[in-house]
Symmetry: D2
Subunit: 406 residues, 4 copies
């Protein structure tokens, strides 16, 4: 319990925690093993969904633990950013949980874009099936041929042509592109190369079955295809979609991107904190149960200090993130810019350290797929790059800091 | 502004900040230089007080910015722990400020002990002049001959003898012992060697002019005598004081110590955060104003990343400390044990890093006495040892963490 | 060039470097992609060898760049430990190279065991085909059910039964067990549970096709099966092999293990240094060729400082390892115990840092299989656990350090 | 013993070590306490020399352990850079030792300048009394008003005027300026502001008693005046010295500076390594002899791991420095540029860590003047700034690294 907790969030927290403890964790290893069997190949067109996960999704939906991330009291439960944050942490304990509660990235961010910036037709066509969990989606931004840490580098094009726009370009690290239910992407590209820097780009909805969308491969992250989601690479060649698929209007890409980022980073970071709590817990249990040199290994060398440092780092990371969420709710995203960049740096690095410690305590068992640790490690590594590398966010923090002195 | 702020603390914060900005910072360098002139010798009996500081104390007292640390609405302003915390941060910006507001350690801790545990006579005799700022005091705990990180090691003795107790033993790092106005110490010693571990020690008030109190020398911390306070070493040989000087009763030493610690650590840590803010600010200003290799040095190498890391670390440290204070206020010290040890580890280490960065940016000027940086560095170093080294607090955090699994 | 270089090692270095540059690096990505195609499944019984690698092995053998690790002038080129060290570094630049030069772990260590401790029949039967590169081998030591960082924990048994021994137990992380050519393992187990601590275990050669050897699965390391080698798990149930398969005699397991360790760690560490050099080189080239925020990314933030830190760390790691090798050659393994443990800690941690920096500079491309970086990262992670985790080696170093004061 | 040792260096090492162990260490604390008594004031004009040190100097001179740093077989013992390096390490164990063997900075560097670049008259007038230990000297380079990390920033001027040059400018951190025997400075200033960047500055010998040389104060480093040496600040106002005092000729300042730097950094770094060895040794002895929580404190928490990390870091730092020295001797300074900058970064940071660990183990006793630790800590802090801050040297290393790819 802490100062950020509300009664409402506390109630949902109890229910989410109970669902995860009762329904997910006991069969988590089974589901992950089944997933490896079903999806052992790099050929994503053969990937299949786990029916156990589908069943758990139906149950979560029936229990009203569904779309909790969406700050809408009708379509969802109307939780604030800070209220949802503690639920996101809880979901982060299991790699499987976010999907089961329909709170998984990148769908959550895409749903938020459609919710905040989509028109009625776009909402009917894409937001509804996403909210119901029937389809999955992709956010196509990163490009292989340019340093995408500078988003203004993006070279893919979105060109008006009568009532349509024509989309061309190469994207990669499009997470979820291999998912059997993935049907649509939000594609960001250059529409007005001569406009002011942050008015050059647009976002357009592109159904995956549009002619000219060529998925070329799925990428591994540290050897893992992350099936059945996958991180896809694709070429779009003269892909024609109606202008009505453009979100908010041409040239609004950066405006939308800004709006998408704040809560999304809170979610990512809180999930990472949940993962860190799980890793710490696993480390302690393992360290207490295994014996070497006549001692439980938790008592050897600097292990207890590392446990303490992990606890201290997690607490700081959580407070930093909750405070950023509180600022978003109470002061607005524009007053939380330092905070949002700060958590993007601090939290994945904290997770990296905590998971590394846990793996080191586990020994070989920590590196293989018998525990969630290797998955968390890869997640931590990805998060230090995804959505802007640490360095870009440090640059943002220092820029805002220096601006105080002008 | 943050979630922990109350209207009352905000009002005091504005006043304290204004006092520091208007009255202290403009003459801080002058006062420190005067202090070096007045107190250049290692012979503490020659040390003198700065009349500029005495004048500022009178002014702060007149302005009602006095004893803000004390949670009593009559004797002081009745601020909660979390309300005072942000004022302590503000005071931490200048090494001079805590004294000027009569909020300096170890007097604050000693006043709290007397306030919470002293009897009426003890309060009349010692608390009153301390609250008025007329005398200074010492907390005599650490001993040169044993590892004092384990407080149960303490060997100094407090032996009943009729209506008196007789005190013997050697203490050091008794901060403030060289101060011209220092008149009394709270002395901790062994009274019941055969009792249960935490009922063996007692605390007794010993006036410095009691026969048998022999101050042997002042110690340097990194070469600095910290005049006119000083870190003293002393031998007590058959020092006789009335039993009425024992606080709470014999055997209550650890009970008192526990009560003293929580708020005191909040104060120390918040002052350290204020020091870190000052150091960061100095670093940025210096880095923007000096040029090397055709660039302001703030733009060279990894300097901007270090600025960002400092900002991120400070924010985390502040939230961790404020949250610990909030827990003390709302849940009680017993529910904040992890937090109180966590800040004791995290905050001084953060300050160490931030100050080191600032000094590195400053070059030679950062090491000498022209800026507060070297003083902050020494303070950070001391804080990692004082009141229990990092390692003891990490051991506490890990012990509490493992206890969750039993 | 440095003080450790001999003319002989310099000549071989030139040839090995030239072979790698001309024959391996240009097709490295092709071979790795082919390997992913051939061995995309987790079913190791389907794994196949790359014919490109087989061809390169033949060429290396023909060129006399073969078995360079073996300190024998007849069977190999008679290079000293320090002479081979710089070749191992060179080979470490490509994950493929050690196999191509028949210098891959764990075969090198197994060949050394047979070379130093095997009898004539064991050499004829197993050392010869290993030296010719016709078969591969496994070292079966780590067990899933005990903390194997303390080797005396090993529970698998080797029991005399007439002219045979009977082997029982479960092993995992047996690297190479999935390789199509893997035919034999050196199995370590408990033979004399009541003997002195380091005389309880034995090593025995067990052909993989012996009845009772059941390979249960291959393990992933961070999601990677490391095909066609694999890290295997197996159950041995009443596996009967002739006593003649015992190496050196029963109870000699630890003695052999000690002898195996020194040079093996040099090899591992020098390969890791080669990997670090490759990673640094990739980072610089990438950083110079990509542009963000109007600058080559190498010039942004703290990147150049990280390049410098990588260079400094690599140089220190190399000198530490070469010096350990020099001590093994000139003073003997027993006088290099601190050094051998020191490199085991320092070098994989250095590699971890350098590769992490390179990946961070690369962005998403650094995490997937288009570069060797993710492979190096997994290798670094494994090396911090394999052959004793960091913590065990730090314990060794501190134990030897404290012993100086007795 | 290591590969860099020669028979000659080994012999001198034995003698130096024996001298320090027998004659210096037993009275080191006494001498330091005497020094604090003699030189307790900030008024450097009152500073006095310890007669104990003067006696030890005479003895070292008589024993032929004198000027060992100088690579001249007639004036000294003709030791190479790498041969002297291990002696410098040995001397680094005691803050007092370098002076006693006439191997103290900045005199060593100044003597090298005169030896390599001075003319006969300059040698007769200044090198001789420096070599005999009769006078002390200063190197006046750093300026308070500019970022001196960029040496081309220097603003002090050296202007030709007939047969004289006229020197103007403000310098600080001129180490040794407070020493009673200090008689001369090597002053670097701008003589040709319009010349090519590295031909603008000159070095000139300025006797301290020349009219216009005004010493304004001594600076503290972390509160320590470092008496009787002192770090001085001075104003030179129209100081006139004969042109014959210019070293090598006007415009040669940078050329001389380059030549001065290589060996000087080796000496500094090796002394720092000696200090680290001493600190490690003190830490272990303290940790073994003090008990807390029923254990020798060396066994608590992560202490043993920190001992191991210190050992590993020291070994790496020593090899890096010895290898740089070996390169200077065998390949020339120009081929050791990366190495010389690398040690400047690595070694003081290593010392910082090792000393910090030792102080943390010592508790309060580590911070005061009863042990050499606080002095080593201040030395480490200074070394990270002196002679170019870490950042400048990292920039050099990365520049040389990137140059490999052009």
């Amino acid at each position: 319990m802490n100062i950020y907790t509300t009664e409402k969030s506390q109630q949902y927290l109890t229910r989410v925690k109970s669902f995860i403890d009762q329904h997910i964790l006991p069969i988590e290893a089974d589901i992950l093993a089944e997933n490896r069997r079903l999806n052992h190949s790099s050929d994503w067109t053969q990937w299949q969904l786990s029916q156990q996960i589908e069943a758990l999704k139906a149950q979560a939906k029936a229990d009203g633990l569904w779309n909790l991330f969406l700050p809408d009291a009708t379509l969802a439960q109307g939780l604030t950013c800070v209220e949802y944050a503690c639920l996101a942490e809880e979901m982060g304990r299991s790699i499987l949980a976010p999907e089961i509660f329909n709170c998984n990235a990148p769908d959550t961010g895409n749903m938020e874009v459609l919710y905040h910036f989509g028109n009625e037709q776009q909402k009917a066509q894409w937001l509804s099936p996403l909210l119901s969990g029937d389809i999955r989606s992709v956010f196509a931004m990163t490009e292989p041929d340019v340093a995408s840490s500078d988003a203004t580098n993006m070279q893919a094009t979105i060109i008006e042509d009568g009532d349509d726009v024509i989309v061309n370009g190469r994207k990669w690290w499009s997470t979820g592109l291999g998912h059997p239910n993935c049907q649509v992407m939000i594609f960001m590209g250059l529409s007005h190369p001569d406009a002011a820097k942050h008015q050059r780009h647009s976002m357009v909805l592109v159904p995956l079955d549009t002619p000219g969308v060529n998925i070329t491969r799925m990428l591994t992250a540290y050897g893992d295809y992350d099936a059945p989601y996958g991180h896809g690479e694709m070429d779009l060649v003269n892909v024609r979609v109606p202008k009505g698929n453009v979100i908010m209007g041409l040239g609004k890409g950066f405006e939308i991107a800004q709006g998408r980022l704040g809560p999304g980073r809170i979610h990512h970071c809180m999930r990472a904190i949940g993962a860190a709590e799980r890793a710490l817990s696993l480390a302690i249990k393992r360290g207490q149960s295994r014996v070497a040199f006549s001692q439980p290994i938790i008592k050897l060398g600097g292990n207890l200090e590392r446990i303490a440092q992990a606890r201290i780092a997690i607490e700081q990371a959580r407070l930093l993130t909750l405070n950023a969420a509180w600022k978003i709710d109470n002061l607005g995203v524009k007053h939380a810019m330092t905070d949002i960049s700060a958590i993007k740096v601090a939290v994945p690095n904290m997770l990296t350290q905590v998971v590394d410690m846990a793996i080191q305590l586990y020994g070989g068992a920590g590196m293989n797929h018998d525990t969630p640790l290797a998955g968390f490690a890869t997640m931590a590594r990805s998060l230090r790059l995804a959505d802007g590398p640490d360095e870009v966010h440090m640059a943002m923090v220092s820029r805002l800091e220096l601006a105080k002195y002008k």
